[in-house]
Subunit: 497 residues, 2 copies
């Protein structure tokens, strides 16, 4: 059959067995501003009872966006939402009120600090779901965690939604957690305190993914978004642990041209980085890449040519944000970093990573989520991802803290399974996972590294502390830890108030 | 029910009504090199009869990858493939042999030059499907065009698949067409002649999307990949047309701070850019952005501060590639540029665009695909996309070429519907689409712009040429043009040999 289409052409409706819809209308693209109020944006999104809203945590303890948005939602009378933030901080204590008033009844994401403390004692209708950075990315991508409305804080955005976290008074580093929300949420709302001319000069998320742009006076308090100046530890015990990490890498022959390593922004990690910096310089070695969190220490190593590449990802200080903006370094996202469902992550083949823990057990299982009193106070972060990616995963811990043994028979919560933990680097020596015979062989006869058994570390801890205190937990499950592929790794029980 | 998982935890299988799979195994990520031979990569992809393979065209007439890959496929005896390249060039004449020997039986994508000529006379089993840049992106994204195996040429790649077109002996500009193939094809093969240390210093496509990396001696001939040095026309007729485009923009008040414009790499466009450059400088105006193809002329305007931003997209000369690599300008992709199925394109709200045509009719319909003898010799490119995005879409054409009227009663093929074409800028004056009363009102009484009717231009053309020659086409349909949303715009009939 022939049909005359709107361009006036009489054309068959089927050609070589394929049916075609006739052309109906050409029109100019809509290029209206997407700027509306938050209330209007939420209304237009059709957000309703039972749905899921997401946020990123890159404004950290300076964030004003989560609290403000929840207030607007509460005022609109929408109840029983699932909160799917990448992390909450102490500033988000008002979330507790939103739990009490019924605005929020489920949480999937990290709950650092007071909300964690509250939820530990007051279970939600479903347990808090904790995923690693990569695990969350995969869950949103693969629709295990469907986001109805994503609210994405940006330190600069234009009126069509191109946006960044790299410039402006509330700069927090490249937006790197929310691209997956932008790609998969039904409605995407960018919230900024810095509306700039189109096109925005940096664009970690572009207008193709954005429905609405909302202007706020301030998206956060710059003093609490990033550290003004990160400090290396000067605690001799921690410096000793840091030193041993580099000695271990050295003994294993890992400090050579092409090294790819990760160290975070904690005191021990930063100290280790400084030792590494000196070692690279002394040995005239050039590392290939630093991954994970970005700090002025990495920027400085890059500037000096000690490391060829560094990915702009989560930034922990003002200097590192400026460095990325000025040098326009490689900017990437958490999917590239850690998505377990992709065809490859930049963590794959990491030569060494330095991670922390609240507890480690004699099976090398690591806990970073709960304190030894059972309270859920931290998220998983990139812990599982980095451990799975690295040839040498080092956990830096003291053998005990005050009266609590860190090394113990069993961790309160399993965050990262012992199978992928390679070395526990403590103030009393280094325990190598017996499964890593390759490492043990290489370390045979090496001086400079004090290899001890995990059991001996545990015994020291128990001797000094009298062992773990008795934990009297309730039967209700307040949280779960998932492995990167979504499998159930452990549960977190209620703490009796 | 409780299950003991592989981490030794006895956990319920259902919590708050949700069932969980127990944790089975943690393992280190695989970080093996992905480098294999092309033959092996294709074998592992499981490519088989009837499937679809895709390529980008950014190596243009210097490309060695398409021909080589088709040879390997032919040698493997795989038949009846659908070729879904973004464009073919004269260098791809061997594709004709692969049509004849049955390796290829369908094509979706531009066929510039000899393959177009051949297919015009020798219909394939289905017509060639022509889509705009944005239309193709949407078709792959939305699975209208499913790609089984994407073969992506890169001028540098590391052994895990991070890759770029910005550096190396065969640099062709940022890879910008293939991200959608990388995201949606079942198997993704990166082909490079420049295997670099991981991580590759630029990464338009990252390892998360890549299955295999293949090394070739040369992916192309640099002399034909990009122009060594683009030349502005010195033809007085063309210079006059270029000048009129800028005069028209000026008369419409478009040349002011914040201007967003597009001009391609054709002779008239380049001349218009140079006039624009002078006009901006003279009037002390700063444009906000240049979109579309990138050339040394844009780089120079950016360097001089005459345009604040320019997106790194398709590059047409060596200088522009170097400029993007050195300054690390905003790099983006065709989805952001033009995807009609996204929430916004950077073409939206373009103040003005300058486009070419083979023919224009009195309804302002434009043909860029076929010559007036009916042969399908060109793709759609960004023509539809840019016309739909721009407030002022200008088509620059002479009234006639040799003995052929360019302005005519009806175009041979409709590429872009007249509804979104605003001005036909010719050597004999400018015809404004009567639907654009707003433009006509603004131009009332303006000197410097010679406004004429489209009919009068057509009459001039017919007077000089005697009108269009009779076209004696066959009944077989050799190609179709699609509107950006996939609707059937027009068909292209067989040319009798």
């Amino acid at each position: 059959m022939s049909v005359t289409n709107s361009a006036g052409r009489k054309l068959p409706d089927t050609i070589a067995g394929t049916e075609y819809k006739p052309f109906t209308k050409a029109h100019k693209n809509n290029c209206d501003s997407k700027v509306v109020s938050l209330k209007k944006a939420l209304q237009k999104s059709g957000l309703k009872e039972g749905q899921t809203i997401s946020f990123h945590h890159q404004l950290r303890n300076g964030d004003y966006v989560v609290n403000h948005t929840l207030d607007v939602i509460r005022d609109a009378g929408i109840k029983n939402l699932r909160l799917a933030q990448t992390a909450l901080f102490p500033i988000h204590e008002p979330v507790i009120d939103h739990i009490k008033d019924g605005t929020i009844n489920r949480i999937e994401g990290s709950i650092n600090g007071s909300v964690g403390d509250y939820v530990s004692k007051n279970p939600l209708s479903s347990p808090v779901v904790l995923r690693s950075h990569g695990g969350r990315w995969a869950a949103v991508k693969n629709d295990e965690l469907h986001v109805d409305v994503a609210i994405i804080a940006a330190s600069a955005a234009d009126n069509r939604g191109n946006c960044t976290g790299l410039i402006g008074k509330s700069a927090f580093g490249p937006i790197c957690y929310s691209q997956v929300d932008a790609m998969h949420a039904d409605t995407v709302i960018v919230v900024t305190d810095n509306l700039v001319d189109r096109p925005c000069g940096f664009q970690e998320i572009n207008e193709g993914y954005v429905d609405y742009v909302v202007e706020m006076d301030r998206i956060g308090n710059p003093n609490d978004i990033v550290s003004g100046s990160l400090k290396v530890t000067n605690n001799p015990q921690k410096l000793h642990i840091a030193r041993q990490c580099i000695d271990l890498m050295n003994a294993l022959g890992l400090i050579k041209d092409g090294l790819i390593f990760q160290a975070g922004a904690g005191g021990i990690s930063l100290a280790a980085l400084q030792y590494l910096d000196k070692t690279l310089e002394k040995n005239n070695v050039v590392a290939a890449c630093e991954t994970g969190g970005f700090t002025k220490f990495i920027a400085e190593m890059h500037r000096k040519g000690l490391v060829k590449n560094a990915y702009g990802l989560q930034c922990f200080d003002v200097e590192s944000i400026k460095y990325i903006a000025e040098t326009r370094r490689l900017i990437t996202d958490i999917g590239h970093y850690a998505d377990p469902s992709s065809k490859g992550r930049f963590l794959d083949g990491l030569h060494a990573t330095i991670l922390g823990a609240t507890e480690v057990d004699t099976n090398f299982n690591v806990n970073v989520n709960t304190h030894s009193d059972g309270r859920l106070l931290h998220g998983i972060g990139g812990h599982q991802d980095s451990a799975a990616g690295a040839h040498l995963t080092m956990i830096t811990v003291p053998v005990y803290r005050k009266t609590i043994p860190v090394i113990r028979d069993a961790v309160t919560t399993i965050t990262t399974p012992g199978d992928i933990i390679d070395a526990i680097v403590t103030d009393q020596g280094i325990a190598i996972n017996p499964k890593r015979k390759d490492l043990l062989d290489k370390l045979e006869g090496k001086e400079n590294v004090n290899i001890v058994s995990i059991e001996s570390l545990k015994e020291m801890a128990y001797d000094e502390t009298g062992g773990p205190p008795n934990l009297d937990l309730g039967d209700d499950i307040v949280g779960i830890t998932k492995w990167r592929n979504g499998e159930l790794l452990d549960v977190i029980y209620q703490v009796k108030d």
